[in-house]
């Protein structure tokens, strides 16, 4: 059951948070030393590319993205470390604005996992 909160929540993201495949858990499990997950710079590229497109216009301005990242990291996604909280907050902001919808994200996640595991 979703907690009562004024912030909208998304089941697809809550499931990811609950499964807790965060980088510290992975490094512990696999004996790896890299401080950051391998997808981190790709996330940087994603944020930069989005900021370039939407610098001061919809669907998600630079300031909105960063403000929401701070707010969500300190509220809904407190259990996540950085940069997982940055990634999930970005997904949250895109879902909230309807840039992507929850069903299509869920389907895409399944498709990509299938592709990566093939």
């Amino acid at each position: 059951m979703t907690k009562k909160t004024s912030v909208e929540t998304f089941e697809v993201l809550n499931n990811i948070v609950e499964r807790d495949q965060t980088w510290p858990v992975m490094t512990e499990r696999h004996g790896v030393e890299n401080p950051l997950p391998p997808w981190k710079t790709s996330l940087d590229g994603l944020c930069d590319a989005l900021d370039q497109t939407c610098n001061s216009k919809p669907p998600l301005t630079f300031k909105e993205r960063r403000d929401e990242e701070d707010e969500l990291s300190a509220s809904l996604y407190t259990s996540l470390p950085y940069p997982e909280n940055q990634l999930v907050a970005l997904a949250h902001s895109l879902l909230k604005r309807g840039v992507i919808d929850e069903t299509e994200l869920r389907e895409r996640l399944a498709l990509i996992r299938q592709r990566l595991e093939s």
Partner: protein, 238 residues
């Protein structure tokens, strides 16, 4: 193909570093968001690739080089303090085209803040996490935290002391707040004990934290990362 390629004499004894052999939800989520954004026309795959390449290659090296040059060359120092964007070009950073194809969203005016015997600068972005990335690389994690952003503007001396930097009352501390269009970097004072040093030697002690203003350059300190090595409490006995 035979195994004969293993006959050559380089060292094969070293063990491969372990890898995370598991596909995580976060890795999948990053790809999904990126693909959906591309499909919706928010940016292209090539734009994403270029920004990712950019994020991977930036670091504090050009900034250290710039300050080392300024310490040695009064004319260049004057340029750095009056036209920082032009001075950056001399260390290979073009703020107008940092990625090679255009300016990222955070293009702005850039200013270098000179420390003096009575004035110390430190930079922050109280609003979010603006940072002079083209010349200093990606910001450290702590720079992005609300803890640093809120407290450095209110209690700068207290926060600096948490970084191990104690400044006497005779030195004024000025906190420069970045914003979407203005970025700053600190030019620390050249420390004693570096007389006769080359540009390369000087650049080595100009660590990222010195250029943010939470540390001072010191001869012999070339990296603010000082991992502690502790002896094992129960060492393995063979």
């Amino acid at each position: 193909m035979s195994n004969s390629h293993h006959d050559h004499d380089h060292d094969h004894d070293h063990a491969h570093k372990p890898m995370v052999d598991e596909i995580t939800d976060f890795e999948v989520l990053e790809i999904a968001l990126r693909e959906l954004c591309i499909e919706k026309g928010l940016f292209t795959a090539e734009e994403h690739r270029v920004f990712t390449e950019y994020a991977e290659q930036i670091g504090p090296t050009p900034a250290a080089r710039l300050v080392a040059k300024a310490w040695l060359d009064p004319q260049f120092k004057k340029l750095a303090l009056t036209d920082a964007i032009k001075a950056c070009k001399e260390v290979g950073v073009d703020w107008l085209h940092p990625t090679g194809f255009g300016a990222p969203s955070d293009f702005m005016a850039f200013k270098i803040l000179e420390n003096t015997p009575t004035l110390h600068h430190v930079i922050v972005c109280a609003l979010c996490s603006c940072y002079p990335r083209p010349i200093l690389g990606n910001s450290p994690e702590w720079y992005r935290t609300p803890n640093y952003r809120r407290r450095i503007v209110r209690w700068p001396r207290q926060v600096l002391s948490e970084f191990g930097l104690q400044l006497p009352d005779s030195i004024e501390v000025r906190v420069e707040d970045s914003n979407q269009k203005h970025r700053f970097m600190v030019m620390p004072m050249r420390p004693a004990g570096t007389e006769g040093w080359t540009e390369d030697q000087l650049a080595e002690i100009l660590t990222r934290d010195c250029l943010i203003g939470v540390a001072l350059p010191k001869p012999g300190v070339t990296n603010n990362v000082t991992p502690l090595v502790r002896e094992a409490i129960r060492p393995a006995s063979l």
